[in-house]
Amino acid sequence: MLERLPRCGQAFADMMRRVDVWKWCNLSEFIVYYESFTNCTEVETHAVGCHWPNPLAQSFIAGIHRQFFSNCTVDRPHWEDPPDEVLIPLIAVPVVLTVAMAGLVVWRSKRTEQLL
């Protein structure tokens, strides 16, 4: 297996050459190649009668990652709430406005005769 896995790496490297370097950190750009690479490692692993994933394959794939994606900051699609200093006024303002509007409506409907 150790001899055959590098072939997958080589094939992957060949494919990645088609992709612009600045796109290497964006998985969507080369996901097909990544999938082929993964399938390749799976097949090679099964060919020698081992299960996938296994520690050897894992370290190999980790090596490939180091080679290609070490400079990538994986942007997490992790959305965050704004900080409290922003959030609390954002919530408090509509609440206060609600109370104010209700009061305004009550007051205005009391004073209809003056309005008229």
Binding site: L27, D81, A102
Partner: protein, 563 residues
């Protein structure tokens, strides 16, 4: 006046002119604003040319044919999306394996690993690690847990049968069919509830618009509130109908929201998971129109929801002003109510939309984990609480008056307020009870059904309580029915004795207006006192006279004119 002339006049007045312009305008604008349904398409990245390996191993080319043609088939699409998520997770996992600092604990531990589906960190020996099930497959429930046991030797658990490292994913799809059935039942319950609500609300709107004698300010407020309910139900039905054929309901467990969020009203949205699978799901470039239309729809949904509750508040304020502040003499200006009911909800909804777009711009704005939702929910809850206090105050004043004066009139006001008193707790109870969902399976299911029933049939309840159960409405309907029967009989030339029919119709009319103070039971402000009432009564009298003439009952018309 001779009966004949009155009959002619009656013909003029009785020509029904349904006025639906306002409603038509609203629905038209609303429909125009909704973008066309986004079309599901396989991600375009997959149409890239298939890679060729230098080694001639045919296995690699097998998966690629799927990618070269975007298929509209949902199964393969779901497969593609699931596969993409899996690869994405794998990519992130290997990155994480590199990035995480080395294990710092003592003793044996199992190494961080990618098990093919999920990423596992370094785990101490003897500990079972848990994670939520992934969402790669339609039948995986993401609320269930995956477990992976690290044994005392620092090795991941190996399954005894195959002797390979094994994570326990069995719970992910163990209960799925049962949950799915449950989810479908609730889905259909939602559909039926909203459809029934729309039907009931449209019928009551029709009644309020058709019967001119029912017109008054309070009914105007009712009509506006009904309109918000109708629009809200329409939005929800559009979502429910668009979602299920996409198979999305299968992938998102609606029950999940019960466990994880405390926002009942978002449940109405959560039942309809996002349409555009492509949008941000796997960090692909979403089709802009899909994303925006989804968010616009979400915006309107939130706006309608807020309008619902603010119109309830308007009703409460109106009653409060009418009864407690005791300005029965003047007609209130409704413009402030319109402002509060239609105009003000724009404010929190817009603020939420802007901040959501800036800070938490997730897929379709569907996530309920964010506190930004409180921007809308806070004012809504405040509106409910304020409404509740207004109503308590009304009841207190009325009860005090009753004790002091023992007037039957006060009792009538109490009866009129009864409708609102029933409705506000009905709407509000979901917020009170919701956080306490029982974890017991059967109780939990009962709870789900009851809550869903209460929520989705809200419009129906509102229409029933405010319109169909209303005495005046029932009287007007009965009278109309009798008139129709009479006309029908006249047309077909059958002479019936009209005496009993008149009595049936005359009596409720008399009692309705014979009440002290001339205030009908549903507290309708009529102003100025003399002219409109006479007009209304003039109408009734005009309607009544042909029958009375035939009945030759002198008592009935006199009663009417004196009230």
């Amino acid at each position: 006046m001779s009966p004949r002339r009155i009959r002619v006049k009656r013909g003029h007045l009785r020509k029904p002119r349904p006025r639906f312009q306002l409603m038509n305008r609203f629905t038209l604008v609303f429909l125009l604003l909704i973008s066309p349904t986004p079309v599901l398409q396989a991600p375009t990245n997959y149409s890239e040319p298939t890679p060729n390996y230098s080694e001639p191993t045919p296995n690699y080319s097998e998966p690629t044919p799927n990618y070269s043609e975007p298929t509209p088939n949902h199964d393969s699409f779901l497969y593609l999306v699931g596969r993409k998520k899996l690869l994405d997770a794998q990519y992130k996992c290997y990155d994480r394996i590199q990035e995480l600092p080395p294990y710092e604990g003592e003793g044996a531990y199992c190494n961080r690993t990618w098990d093919g589906w999920l990423c596992w960190d370094d785990t101490p020996a003897g500990v079972t690690a848990y994670q939520h099930c992934p969402d790669y497959f339609p039948d995986f429930d993401t609320t269930e847990k995956v477990s992976k046991y690290c044994d005392e030797n620092g090795e991941w658990f190996k399954h005894p049968d195959s002797n390979r490292t094994w994570s326990n994913y069995t719970l992910c799809n163990a209960f799925t069919s049962e949950k799915l059935n449950n989810a479908y039942v609730l889905y259909y319950l939602a559909l039926v509830g909203h459809s029934l609500s729309i039907a009931a609300l449209v019928a009551s709107m029709g009644i309020f618009l058709f019967f001119k004698n029912l017109r008054c300010q309070r009914v105007t407020l009712h009509k506006n509130m009904f309109l918000t309910y109708i629009l809200n139900s329409i939005i929800i039905i559009i979502h429910l109908v668009e979602v299920v054929p996409n198979g999305d309901l299968v992938r998102r467990d609606p029950m999940h929201i019960f466990h994880h969020n405390t926002h009942m009203w978002t449940m109405q949205w959560e039942l309809s998971p996002p349409l555009p699978l492509s949008a941000k799901e796997g960090k692909m470039d979403p089709n802009d129109s899909e994303v925006i239309s989804c968010k616009v729809l979400h915006f309107f949904h939130q706006y309608m929801m807020a309008c619902n509750y603010f119109w309830m508040l308007c009703e409460g304020i109106y009653l409060h002003t009418l009864i407690v502040v005791a300005v029965f003499a003047e007609e209130q200006r409704l413009r402030w109510y319109y402002l509060l009911g239609w105009g003000f909800p724009v404010v929190p909804t817009t603020i939420h939309a802007i901040t959501r777009a800036l800070y938490y711009n997730d897929n379709c704005w569907l996530s309920v984990e964010t506190h930004l939702l409180y921007i809308i929910h806070g004012p809504v809850m405040v509106a409910l609480v304020v409404n509740f206090f207004f109503l308590l105050n009304i009841v207190r004043v009325l009860v005090t008056k009753m004790r002091q004066t023992h007037e039957a009139e006060t009792y009538l006001y109490l009866k009129a307020v009864k409708a609102t008193m029933v409705l506000v707790p009905l709407l509000g109870i979901q917020f009170v009870v919701f956080p306490w969902r029982p974890s017991n399976k059967i109780l939990g299911r009962i709870y789900d059904y009851v809550m869903h029933f209460l929520i989705h049939f809200q419009g129906f309840f509102v229409a029933t309580i405010y319109c169909f159960c209303n005495h005046e409405v029932q009287v007007a309907l009965k009278r109309q029915w009798v008139q129709l029967k009479i006309r029908w009989n006249q047309r077909w030339g059958r002479r019936r004795r009209r005496r009993p029919a008149n009595r049936v119709v005359a009596a409720p009319r008399a009692t309705a207006f014979a009440e002290p103070g001339g205030l009908p039971i549903y507290i309708c402000h009529q102003e100025p006192r003399n002219a409109p009432i006479n007009n209304n009564q003039g109408e009734e009298v005009v309607e009544m006279i042909p029958m009375n003439v035939l009945q030759q009952d002198p008592s009935a018309p006199q009663q009417d004119s004196s009230a």
